[in-house]
Amino acid sequence: MAATPILQPVERENYLNKEYGAWSWLLTTDHKRIALLYLLSITFFFFIGGFFALLIRLELLTPAGDLVQADTYNKLFTMHGMIMVFFFLIPSIPAVLGNFLVPLMIGAKDLAFPRINLLSWYLYIIGGVMMMHCMLTGGVDTGWTFYAPFSTNFTNTKIVEAGLAIFVAGFSSILTGLNFVVTIHRMRAPGMTWSRLPLFIWAHYATSIIQLLGTPVIAVTIVLVAAERALHLGIFDPKLGGDPLLFQHLFWFYSHPAVYIMILPAMGVVTEIIACFSRKRIFGYHFVAFSSIAIAVFGFLVWAHHMFVAGISVYSALVFSFLSYAVALPSAIKVFNWTATLYKGSIHYDAPMLYAFGFLGLFTIGGLTGLFLSALGIDVHVTDTYFVVAHFHYIMVGGAVMGYLGGMHFWWPKISGRLYPEGWARLAALIVFIGFNLTFFPQFILGYMGMPRRYYDYSHMPEFQILNVLSTAGATVLGVGYLLPMFYFLWSMRYGKPASDNPWNAAGLEWKTTSPPPTFNFDEEPVVIWEAYNYEELDAPHEEGVPVAK
């Protein structure tokens, strides 16, 4: 592969070269620049969280707890969870791809509140700095779920600081959701009706609803935990008449919908990719659109399935079990629609599509195993085992992260104006897929066999070792797969082929402007007169660049 920079004629002005200098980035209100600020930040936290994962997997190579002490191990899985959930997964697609693409896809010049968008990033950074400081000065050992009364009464670790960090980051999430909702309602270009919106937008709209209505509840829960620690209030302390389960209710009221914050945007990405690389409009557009909203609403109805064995009433558990089955329906609808879109499509196996295929299979496995967990009888056996760990990693990593990577590849030409090297990208996708399955599939078996989660020492069950070794080996492969894009994306910024406006010949307004776009997105305000995913028109024979009209 040639390493000499490709010379180009003088560049058009775009959002990247319009201004130079640190302040032009740190004080920007351009949603595209803010998206890149987020990209750098979440990538940083991804590797921090990944580092903790590596230490966890290293410890679990041997049955004995011989790498770290028990308390340290508690901190490792706690910090891994907190960083990955609050500082990587929840912002990832919305804050990077959403911020970049929402205005472009609807034909707007920016989000409704650009300064609030910048504030949102600063809040995220402040939360992140607080969390880093917390980790470096001792960290937290409660698990990312910081259950009371351990978190309120017994642990000596830095709960309040971690809680405040999450509170601040949560506020960032709320503001992003607020911006998206108002933008999608108010700033669509003429002709961009709700039924013409890309499904990526519907997905982000649904995600925003969850961010807005769920996050405040965990925020107030954190306030209560902090108050309890500082003032010994006893709201969750049984000795003072409190109920630890109340904490769990309030915590999971947000944290379950939070997982839909993590997966819905990825579903939106996958929809865009599958349509483009099958050269077909999405099958059942309205079903997919409304299923996104349904997931957002139903997702709020199921939280106590995290509490089946915690002591809630059996009748309540029955209700939540039933509702947990119901929430699988809209997700299943999406899987059917994606599959139907692929049927008789003209499939292209570019890297984004490889990630989308990976998503389809892995999300399906993760989702189905969620149904197992929703069954009360099964849950009694596999709750708090590696079965649960495998389930949610299939969705969050096999689903959300694959969706994120697929989206980064798909829109990289638009974001950077450069093409990434396709060969390396396909290789990386394959490595990620193999590494992922090697890491997490054994964990289903481990959980089924009874290996508890959050244990640093399993020497009483040495037969678990072989599967743990496989899992750790897989994690190493996965790590390589994640590192590769770091390198070739960076490489492409200098040496990649310049991208045309629409290298994929994809549908969507974002492809009708330059790569990279100008600061105000479009030279002229677009007027939309076509339906979404008009691939038939895009692939129809052209005369002088204009589709031959039907």
């Binding site: 309602h185 209505l213 009221f253 109805l301 009433s313 059996v314 009748y315 309540s316």
Partner: protein, 102 residues
Amino acid sequence: MSSHSTSSHATSSPLKMYFAVFTALLVGTALTVFAATLDLGPFNAPVALAIATVKATLVALFFMHVYHASERLTKLVVVAALFFLFLLLGLTMSDYATRALS
């Protein structure tokens, strides 16, 4: 075409309406206190909350201009917030209310 998205349509009649709502709110407050001194059996709390709900509705509809809102979207946002609030309260209470039965 009115340039105000949330104002009422005439300029003098809102004052009458605002003072009427204001009076109703004060009367409601007095009523709440008075009802609290009566023995209404199990209905003390429901009555107090009902009066509070009427007051809150008046504030929302007339002081916050939801009644005259030019879009249904405003009303949808209010309804959605209340819906999710009741979800939180209701489903949580479904656990607490049935624990004794388990």
